[in-house]
Each structure stands twice: as C-alpha cells, then as structure tokens.
C-alpha cells in the first residue's frame, strides 16, 4: 500500500501506527485503539496531524489530532468534521459529506455531489477513487439498500484493511473543499 497520496493540492504522508487509548465519536470512556497517523499538508499553510482510529469495540473514525499553526478556516478541523467509518459486511464505508463555508467563515459538513467533488479534485473522481481501492461514490441506498432518512447521502466503500482510503476521503471532503472555497 502506498504511503504517500496526492488528493488534488493536498498531500497525505503515512506516518505509522501506535496503540493508544481514546474516546470514540459517540463518547464514553477512553478505550484501546490502533491509531494510524498521517500528515495532511497543502497550500495556504495546511499542516494537519491526522489519525485514523480503529477502536477495540469496532468503532472507527478519522480526526485531526493537532492543527499546529494551520490557519483558519482549516484549524476548525481540530475539533470538528470527524469522518465516521462504518462496517459494511466484510468491508467498511464512509460518507462523503463535505466541509463547506457558511456565513461568517463558519464551516460545517454539508451534502455534496460527485461532480462538485470532482471539481475540487481537478481530475477524474472515479479514476482517483479506484486507484486507492475505493468504490465509486453512490448513495447509501445504492450501497446497502438504506431506506432511512439518510438514504440519499453519498458514500464510498473500501477493504477494511485499507487504511489510506479513509485518509484520502478525509482530505477530499475536509481540507480540499475549504481550500477551494466551497460554500454551502
């Protein structure tokens, strides 16, 4: 598996893995987890120390653990915009909701389209996803027959052992849209 990935203007360098104790997205007491680390850098001073956490209870997410001197609006990723990673049979999937700027430079996650993501990426989206072992971006309904209120959200799946895939989706849907000035 490659240890360096370019997501448009954003670079991801894999930095290894460590065992730690941390709190999953849903909260509660810290539990054991494998923490894969990557350094997400890019223009405009983006330098985010990022972790893909695989918890002992099966929960997974991607989060920024240190923003350093990264300026606004990216520094918001220091405690917001975590990417949930969920089981899908023998694979895992994550949604592709993207960080977009709203009024007064306040960014939040919002629904997006494949075309919009492709615009930020600046190259063929499906080609990019497939090169990293990710499926095409499709709705949750198409991916696993979701009938709930979130069935129209876009998502992509990947092998459970592919730890670069969630980092790539994180970069694609968090710092990259902010860099491109995406607005809701």
């Amino acid at each position: 598996m490659t240890s360096e990935v370019l997501v448009g203007a954003i670079k991801i360098v894999y930095m290894g893995a460590v065992e730690i104790k941390a709190t999953p997205i849903r909260g509660g007491e810290p539990i054991a987890a494998i923490q894969h680390l990557s350094f997400v850098t890019g223009p405009d001073g983006i330098a985010l120390e990022t972790a893909y956490l695989i918890f002992s209870n099966g929960d997974r997410d991607v989060r920024v653990i240190e923003t350093g001197d990264t300026p606004s609006p990216y520094s918001r990723l220091g405690h917001g915009g975590r990417l949930g990673v969920y089981p899908l049979g023998k694979m895992h999937y994550c949604e592709t909701r993207a960080m977009k700027l709203g009024d007064k430079n306040w960014s939040n996650l919002h629904r997006t389209t494949a075309r919009e993501i492709e615009g930020w990426l600046g190259s063929n989206l499906n080609g990019f996803l497939s090169s990293l072992g990710l499926s095409k971006v499709i709705t949750r309904e198409e991916l696993f027959g979701d009938e709930g209120r979130r069935r129209h959200e876009l998502a992509t799946s990947f092998e459970s052992t592919n730890f670069m895939a969630p980092f790539a989706i994180f970069a694609l849907t968090r710092p990259l849209p902010l860099l491109k000035g995406a607005r809701r």
């Binding site: 360098v13 930095m15 680390l37 350094f39 007064k104 430079n105």
Partner: protein, 380 residues
C-alpha cells in the same frame, strides 16, 4: 485591529548604489504607506462608523476580514469600490484616483518581484508616493519619502553613507515580526477553539430545548404553564448562543486580521528572497554574532533572541517539520532529522514549536522561559 504607528518610525535609507537596498527601501516605503494611510482611515472613520467599521465592511460584502494596514488594501479599497467609506477621507477627482491606480500597480509589480530596482526607478516610485502623501496629508510618509529622495540624489552624486547593514537588519526585524505574529496567532487559536466548543455545546443545548418544547406542545397544547417555562428556558439558551457567537466572531476576526498581516509579511519576505535582496545584502555585511553555546547545556534558559525559522516538534509523529511549509525534515535530512526530534523530545516531551536562528541555535518555550535545545548539526 486599531493601527498604531510609531512617531519615530523611519525608512531604511540606502547607504550605497545597491539594488538590494533600493528594493528594501521601496518595500518599506509601501509598508509605511499602509501603516499611515490605514491609521488615517481609522482616525477619520471610527467616530462616524464605530471601531469595528473595517470588519463590518468585510462582513457586509461577505468577505474575510480586511487588514487595515495592508498596503495593497489601503490603495485598492477606495480605487475599486466607489461607495467605500474610505473615499470620504480622501481628496476627490480623477487625477487623484489615477495617482492611486499608478501606485497600486507599482506596489503590485514590486511585491511580485517584477519592478526595476535601479536608483532612478526607486526615485520615481518614492516621488509618486510623496505626491500621494502630500495630497492626503500623511505627515510621516511625507517626511520620510522626502528624506529618501534626498538620499538617492546624494548617492547619485557620488556621496557615500554608513550603515549598509541596516537593510539586513530590517529583514531580520521582518523575520522576527513574522515569527511573533505566528506566535500570537497560535496563542489566540487555543482560546478561539475553546469558544467555538462552548458555542457548539450551546447550540446543541438550544436544539435539545427546542425538541423538548415541541414534544411538550404535542402533549399538552399551547396553553399549559409548562410550555411557557420551557419557552423561557429555550429563549435563554438561544440568548446565550447569540452572546457566545458574538464573542467567538470577535476573536475570530482578530485572529484573521493577525493571520492576514502575517501573510503580508511572509509574502514580502518571499519577494525579497526571490529578488536575491537578502543574498545581496548579506554579502555586503554580516555583523550578527553568534552566542557561544559551548558551555550551554540543552534545557538551560536561553537569554539570546529566539530564531525566526520555526520548526514543529511533533509528539504524534516523533518527527520535526517546517512550521511554515509543513515539510518533514526527514524528507531532506533523513534519519539525522528523526534522531534530532527524538533527542529534543527528551528535553521537551510535550513537543511544540522550536525556533532556530541563523547559526543553528535551537530554542523552545518551557512555560514562559525560552530554553536552549541544542545546535542543529545540519543546515535547514
């Protein structure tokens, strides 16, 4: 941010016919214009529009906050916006706006490394700045630009002056300003993150109370007293959100302002490096002396100045990276960089920023003390 301009602020006058020195003079002249014209706008408009008029202006246009002392902004704001309040503080007429247009173009050329830095060119640019300052009655600029023109004329007549190292000192000051601004911005970030977190919690609270109110309404209808009580609670929570949001936005605006200024100085330094000004000036003079570190133990208090090159010592990665560019030092220096990170983590286990000076002396903050980390054994 309210601009503050020191009355003893002076331009770095060239001491010889050196292009690097003329370039520094031109850059410095534009920066001075930004400082005094920004202060002029603020002094005239604050009594009418209030102290937050600049951030309000940006907010109305749905743009990030402006930097009041940015030489680019002070010129382009009135030039490109016919309804800008800054126009109220300036002379009227097409001739004056032609003058601003010319200056904006000149600033653009020099700050993007395209301007000619001969003595004649420098004289022409400073003359334009002088005429502009006279029109707006910027007293400090007028005095300094007139002095600069006198100096260039004397140099062209063959007169020599001391203090060749002043241009270099100005660059060192700029580097220090960038480092300080980065430091201030970084400190503000923590506070802003805490406020943002408090705001998010309050927003969650409002959502929960709204939901409770809705459920209650479904159960007992609109007339019950419990509804009134729940509504009061919901309104109080919403009020708290408004207050927290206002605090957060004020802090964020200040941070963005500092970051804007930091970017401006960084761009300036980049232009100076690209135009080989720093190289040219360093070849003229190198007067700075290194502190003798032979007897200094790593971890002891450092009494010198902190360096302007900033590295981040990452606890998570156990590596060092350039704070400005995000480049991992191991990419260019391999294991030596990793080993240095491990060594420094023994001195400062919590990691953080490390400042390196021109001689490779590395320092970092431990509490309020600046401590010596060691001397780098490779060139950054």
């Amino acid at each position: 941010m309210t601009p503050n301009i020191a009355v003893n602020r002076s331009l770095n006058l060239p001491s010889s016919l050196n292009e690097g020195q003329f370039r520094v003079l031109i850059f410095d002249a534009f920066i001075l214009l930004g400082e005094e014209l920004g202060a002029h706008y603020h002094a005239k408009l604050e009594p009418i529009l209030g102290k937050n008029w600049v951030s309000e202006l940006a907010r109305q246009r749905n743009l990030p906050p402006y930097n009041l002392t940015d030489p680019d902004w002070v010129l382009k704001e009135p030039l490109r916006n016919p309804t800008s309040p800054t126009r109220l503080t300036l002379p009227k007429g097409q001739g004056f706006y032609n003058q601003i247009n010319l200056l904006a173009r000149a600033r653009n050329a020099y700050f993007h490394n395209q301007g000619n830095a001969s003595a004649d060119a420098a004289q022409q640019v400073i003359q334009l700045l002088l005429e502009f300052s006279l029109s707006v009655q910027l007293l400090l600029c007028t005095r300094e630009y007139a002095g600069a023109i006198q100096r260039i004329k004397k140099l062209l007549l063959g007169e020599e002056f001391g203090g060749a190292e002043q241009g270099l000192e100005r660059i060192v000051i700029l580097e220090q300003q960038v480092a300080n601004l980065e430091e201030i911005a970084n400190q503000s970030k923590l506070e802003i993150q805490q406020r943002e977190q408090a705001l998010e919690n309050a927003l969650d609270d409002v959502a929960v109370r709204e939901e409770a109110l809705r459920e209650l309404r479904e159960k007992v209808g609109d007339r019950d007293q419990a509804i009134a009580a729940a509504r009061i609670e919901q309104e109080l929570a919403a009020k708290l959100v408004t207050e927290l949001r206002s605090e957060y936005e004020t802090n964020l605006a200040e941070l963005l302002d500092k970051e804007n200024m930091e970017r401006q100085y960084k761009d300036l330094l980049k232009s100076l490096v690209m135009s080989k000004t720093v190289e040219s000036l360093r070849s003229v003079s190198s007067t700075k002396k290194s502190i003798d570190t032979a007897a200094l133990r790593p971890g002891s208090v450092w009494y010198g100045e902190k360096g302007s090159h900033r590295l981040t010592l990452s606890v998570n990665f156990r590596e060092l990276y350039d704070t400005k560019t995000g480049t991992l030092l191991r990419e260019n220096h391999g294991e030596r960089a990793t080993n240095l990170a491990l060594k420094w983590l023994e001195i400062k286990p919590q990691g953080g920023r490390v400042f390196v000076d021109d001689f490779g002396n590395a320092t970092a903050y431990r509490g309020e003390d600046l401590i010596f980390m060691g001397v780098m054994d490779f060139q950054l």
